[in-house]
């Protein structure tokens, strides 16, 4: 049962999706914006709609810079469906969506997927204990509900780790410690890219100020190893080795983990788009051209979902993708010069400070893989490192064989939490590259859908 038809459907209301939808609608294309949250903003501007009134200072300027985008969106005259979950894009680019307890199909001539990024899995011993969350999760709680934990330990690496710890401190939440998995050696290696990085002084200045706040207000330890979170019904402590080898334990009920973000590829993979293993950033990303067009000419990817580049680049890439579609639909009257400028600016933004940051925050193998045999790897199915090791063997040529043998990857999250871990365990076992090893075959529904919702699509009984 098809409902409406649109010239452009945008999936995801973060900066990329918002700018894409605004751009397309402004050019007169019939536009639908679909997002699963109750308010726009995606991850980076989560809660901004309700926060702009209360404006807590601890969230910082870059967050509130998003208000400009929200205000532009208030002029959007396309259709906006909030609390709507996309669970499939069919081969003839119909979009299957669940909203209000019903499933429906939407016909779109062009689709812009702007579903952003997710946290890179960090399988620390004890990471499934209640009280352990991702740093992104802790930040979302702060933004959306003004809720935080006292005496939490932040562990890992990456700009989001330092930003959130700084926001916590500024919000008056005492932070017990920040344990940095990147050591002094990595800082020096990254400094070789410092010249390029200095072309983006604000990004680096921000990072240095967060670090200064952290060092002033809490214990900061660099180069930690051998992490272990202990507890029974909930986390009670985290232990670590320092760079010089001495072991310490910190009592805490809250551990926040982070080691960077990776493109959220479940929808793009389930849609059958081409992907490539990005060796530098150690993640999968969809194959796209400079406008964001994927291997399916009707589908574009904008934002971090096409490759991690941050909020500003995301917004620009949304405009670039929408522009490309506008030029296809209405070739006369578009401005190729502006479009080329947009693409060039995007390339520069992606290029400048990223190599420095990518080098600096490239997660070490020790933190990408589980160390103890009891560590759960597949959270959904409670599959441990021991279970996976027992299943590995000559017949496990890749993650799909492994999935069949021990259920890793069969749960609701469809590999978002375990996919990269499993892929690397197999690559190591078979002594092959990550690219050769491949990934789980991701299939719809990309998010769970109930039988009643599915049946409400009124398909014919197959027989």
């Amino acid at each position: 049962m098809t409902t409406q038809q649109y010239q452009v459907a945008v999936i995801g209301a973060g900066p990329a999706g918002l700018r894409a939808a605004i751009t397309a609608a402004k050019a007169g294309l019939t536009t639908l914006l679909i997002d699963d949250q109750p308010a726009i903003g995606g991850q980076i501007y989560r809660g901004l709609v309700q926060n702009k009134a209360a404006a807590p200072a601890y969230l910082g300027n870059s967050y509130f810079a998003g208000i400009r985008l929200l205000e532009t969106f208030s002029q959007f005259d396309g259709v906006y469906w909030s609390q709507s979950t996309v669970w499939q894009i069919t081969s003839d680019h119909q979009i299957a969506i669940t909203r209000d307890g019903r499933a429906e199909l939407v016909d779109a001539e062009h689709i812009i997927i702007a579903t952003g990024a997710i946290e890179r899995p960090m399988p620390v011993d004890g990471w499934t204990l209640p009280g352990v969350m991702t740093v992104g999760g802790a930040q979302t709680l702060l933004k959306q509900a003004a809720v935080g934990a006292e005496h939490a330990v932040f562990v890992g690496t990456g700009p989001l780790l330092y930003l959130t710890a700084a926001q916590y401190i500024r919000a008056g939440l005492p932070v017990r410690a920040v344990l940095d998995t990147v050591g002094p050696k990595a800082w020096r290696a990254a400094a070789t890219h410092a010249a390029m990085a200095l072309m983006q002084p604000t990004m680096l200045a921000k990072g240095l100020s967060w670090l200064a706040t952290i060092r002033r207000h809490t214990q900061y330890v660099a180069g930690v190893k051998a992490l272990h979170i202990s507890g029974d019904d909930a986390a009670t402590a985290i232990s670590y080795n320092t760079a010089t080898g001495s072991r310490h334990t910190i009592d805490t009920e809250h551990v926040f983990l982070h080691q960077g973000v990776i493109p959220n590829i479940n929808l793009t993979m389930a849609t059958g788009l081409d992907h490539v293993w990005d060796r530098v950033n150690h993640c999968w990303r969809p194959v796209i051209d400079k406008t964001g067009r994927s291997s399916n000419p009707a589908i574009y990817i904008a934002g971090d979902g096409g490759g991690i580049a941050g909020g500003a680049a995301a917004e620009l890439s949304g405009a670039v993708a929408a522009d490309a579609i506008i030029r296809r639909v209405k070739p006369v009257g578009s401005s190729p010069l502006m479009v080329r400028l947009g693409q060039r600016l995007l390339r520069w933004q992606r290029g400048a400070a990223r190599p420095f940051l990518d080098r600096l925050y490239h997660p070490d193998a020790a933190f990408r893989l589980p160390s103890s045999n009891d560590t759960i790897v597949c959270r959904c199915e409670s599959v441990t490192k021991r279970d996976i090791t027992a299943a590995l063997g000559d017949a496990v040529t890749g993650p799909n064989q492994l999935k069949a043998f021990c259920r890793a990857g069969m749960g609701r999250c469809q590999g978002r939490s375990c996919g990269l871990i499993v892929q690397e365990m197999i690559a190591n076992d078979r002594q092959q590259t990550m690219a050769e090893t491949g990934y789980y075959r991701v299939r719809p529904p990309v998010k769970p859908v109930t039988l009643a919702e599915l049946a409400s699509l009124d398909g014919p009984w197959p027989g």
Partner: protein, 371 residues
């Protein structure tokens, strides 16, 4: 890729699916050294697209050899399960306490009855079944929906975890000293004296028994040993739900609850396609029928889906052939790799070890299509 440990094997199996693995395990039981050649992780693999039924009712209703062969395998299954469990593989979860074919109309009931009556007639009392009306069915499945008219119950039916079966067979083969070589499909074969030499990306290997069990790829491999297998793909789609408390004590043809608690729900029969993507209208229809069967499942979430290509012969029955041009070479295919696993492991492997298919399998030659 793994380097095979040696070049000479008693038996080489082309195809690491359920047929190849069951026969490979059986040959290992007979003392033969076995090498299994398989494709890579994302190959078509009908074996990973199996519903898991060990199903007797209806099979061979209009073709006696198939009814006999199916019943035989069903009776041997407990022995296969016991042997494989002894190697320490995860629990296969074999249950053979009966199965149901749910009917949503009087027409369906009648058609089913006619078919099963026919099957019973030529099985000399060996095959038992019962048509259950709503009242009788409600005792077995209390949550049955108002649209359900009844069901055909067969005490011989059952189910098993098909993926753990695959893993267990591989464990069995490896415990017997056999080897599994992935990313090394068979490329060609030539006769070398009484033996055969098989070429693959991993090198050349010789054997005195060559078993072609490569699913749809058998159509391409069989002519290499002077045989033919006319096979066509038939797509089936399945949805899988989150884990639940026990909803069903018996498997049904289109809906079964796994040992872990998830419901597997099928299916479809789509010809003329090799596209294994999942289609919204088909899975919507599957969900529809599931809710007609068990309405209480309305708020249960579907967490994944998959599609696979059944390996279908012209009449849907197995094809087992031995080569005359290359004695010792066999080509095998069927679409019921789980139900027939026991017959494959014990009887069929035995014939292959003896280099001669038994007369009971005459009805499964490709030649039956050229009469």
């Amino acid at each position: 890729m793994t380097e095979p440990i040696r070049n000479n094997w008693d038996a080489i199996i082309a195809g690491g699916g359920l047929i190849g693995l069951a026969v490979g395990y059986g040959l290992g039981r007979r003392g033969l050294s076995v090498l299994v050649l398989d494709e890579g992780d994302t190959a078509l693999r009908a074996a990973r697209g199996n519903f898991g039924l060990v199903w007797v009712q209806g099979k061979g209703a209009y073709y006696e050899p198939y009814a006999d062969w199916t019943m035989r395998s069903s009776q041997l299954w407990p022995q296969l399960a016991d042997e494989l469990q002894a190697f320490g593989a995860p629990a296969l979860g074999l249950e053979q306490t009966g199965g149901l074919t749910i009917c949503l109309s009087e027409d369906e009931m009648q058609q089913r009855q006619v078919k099963l009556d026919h099957l019973r007639a030529h099985q000399n009392g060996r095959f038992r079944f019962e048509m259950l009306d709503r009242t009788a069915l409600k005792e077995l499945v209390p949550g049955i929906g108002p649209k359900v008219v009844g069901a055909a119950y067969c005490p011989h039916d059952g189910h098993v975890n098909p993926l753990f079966l695959m893993r267990a067979l591989i464990t069995g083969i490896e415990s017997q000293g056999g080897q599994f070589c992935g990313n090394a499909p068979m490329i060609g074969v030539e006769k070398t004296g009484p033996d055969m030499r098989v070429s693959t990306a991993a090198g050349l290997f010789s054997c005195s028994r060559l078993v072609l069990a490569a699913g749809l790829a058998n159509a391409k491999l069989a002519p290499m040993v002077g045989l033919a297998q006319s096979l066509r793909p038939q797509k089936g789609q399945v949805i899988v739900t989150e884990k639940l408390d026990q909803q069903l004590t018996l498997p049904t043809l289109l809906l079964r609850q796994t040992a872990e608690g998830g419901l597997m729900i099928g299916d479809s029969h789509e010809d003329d396609t090799t596209d294994i993507s999942v289609s919204t209208d088909i899975i919507s229809g599957i969900a529809d029928r599931a809710l007609a069967t068990l309405p209480a499942l309305a708020d249960v979430s579907v967490v994944r889906s998959w599609a696979a290509l059944r390996v279908m012969s012209q009449d849907g029955y197995p094809i087992y052939d031995q080569s005359e041009a290359m004695p010792g070479a066999f080509a095998l295919s069927c679409h019921s790799g789980v139900t027939l696993a026991a017959a494959h492991a014990f009887d069929l492997a035995g014939y292959i070890a003896d280099a001669c298919l038994g007369v009971e399998l005459n009805g499964f030659s490709e030649g039956r299509f050229h009469v």
